[in-house]
Symmetry: C2
Subunit: 181 residues, 2 copies
């Protein structure tokens, strides 16, 4: 927390299974803020991890139903940090195994970002995974996920097609590593 934004406390106004909402108050100490108190409605939710898993020819995506937006989306494999004690990297490794049926030899974090910094504290960690190998996993039958092996030569088309923040960020990063700088 920055010294210039003093948290004054608040209340939980909704407590759900996957997210909660708090109304919180803050004092702005900066000269411009001049001690003004502001109130914010803030969504609290578990952080998430996503994976840009690729080899020399393909990047591994999933197509899945997203009820909130009323359709199917093309996305990086990803999931919430909902296993006690699991690090973002471990979540990314678990999701790659569960959704794509693969493990990877090399991992590094590309970025950790806030999808909606105006009203949520959620962070999404994006990892790059290479040195992929098939592993024996039994996909969760409730997952409703289609694996999409997308050709890297068509990467720009995937960036143009997808409408999901983490996927755009991850694929733009992948495209940038493949262009002459």
């Amino acid at each position: 927390m920055s010294d210039e934004i003093e948290p004054l406390g608040g209340e939980t106004v909704f407590e759900g299974k996957t997210l909660s909402v708090r109304v919180e108050r803050f004092r702005h100490a900066s000269p411009a803020g001049a001690g003004e108190v502001v109130e914010r409605e803030i969504v609290r939710r578990q952080d998430a991890a996503a994976v840009v898993a690729y080899d020399g020819e393909h990047v591994w995506l999933v197509r899945q139903p997203r009820e909130a937006i009323g359709g199917f989306t093309l996305e990086l494999p990803a999931g919430k940090l909902d296993v006690e004690g699991e690090s973002p990297l471990q979540t990314a490794q678990r999701e790659l195994a569960e959704e794509i049926g693969r493990a990877a030899d090399e991992w590094h974090e590309v970025v950790a970002y806030h999808p909606s910094s105006g009203y949520s504290d959620e962070r999404v960690h994006i990892f790059a995974a290479t040195g992929l190998r098939e592993i024996d996993t039994r996909p969760d039958p409730g997952e409703r996920i289609e694996i999409v092996r997308w050709p890297l030569r068509d990467l720009e088309r995937a960036i143009g097609e997808c409408r999901d923040a983490k996927t755009i960020i991850g694929l733009q990063w992948l495209a940038s590593t493949r262009r002459p700088s």
Copy 2:
């Protein structure tokens, strides 16, 4: 709405000033879903528009307090579609004037994306604006926004520093237009 995701209705469980939460139910018609009914907690919030405003030397960013994440962030100028009847482009034009004090001659939409398609229907429209000129605006004294004129030669450093989804997406796009393809 996709034919494969049938909305069954739901309830508003929180109604705030800036967002609401609904619990909604859906039936999956696909063979894989086999008629299963799922329940989702969905945050409803106004869509937003953001601007990548640049000339030959700089891109115009803002640094502002984000109480939800407890600090200041480097961001594209942006705002909610909270004026009745305003299009995403008009919101982007208004925000560029209010936050940066500039108008632009050329506009085009770079992308419209979902920041959190797992639990929110929010869409963010990112526009590119060029042909910038200074206009006479009186910044809102409550805005607490610092204008940051960021040199394009240091664009990669801005992408590395910022942690805000719309800004990463907009600046990655800008970087991609400046690299030899």
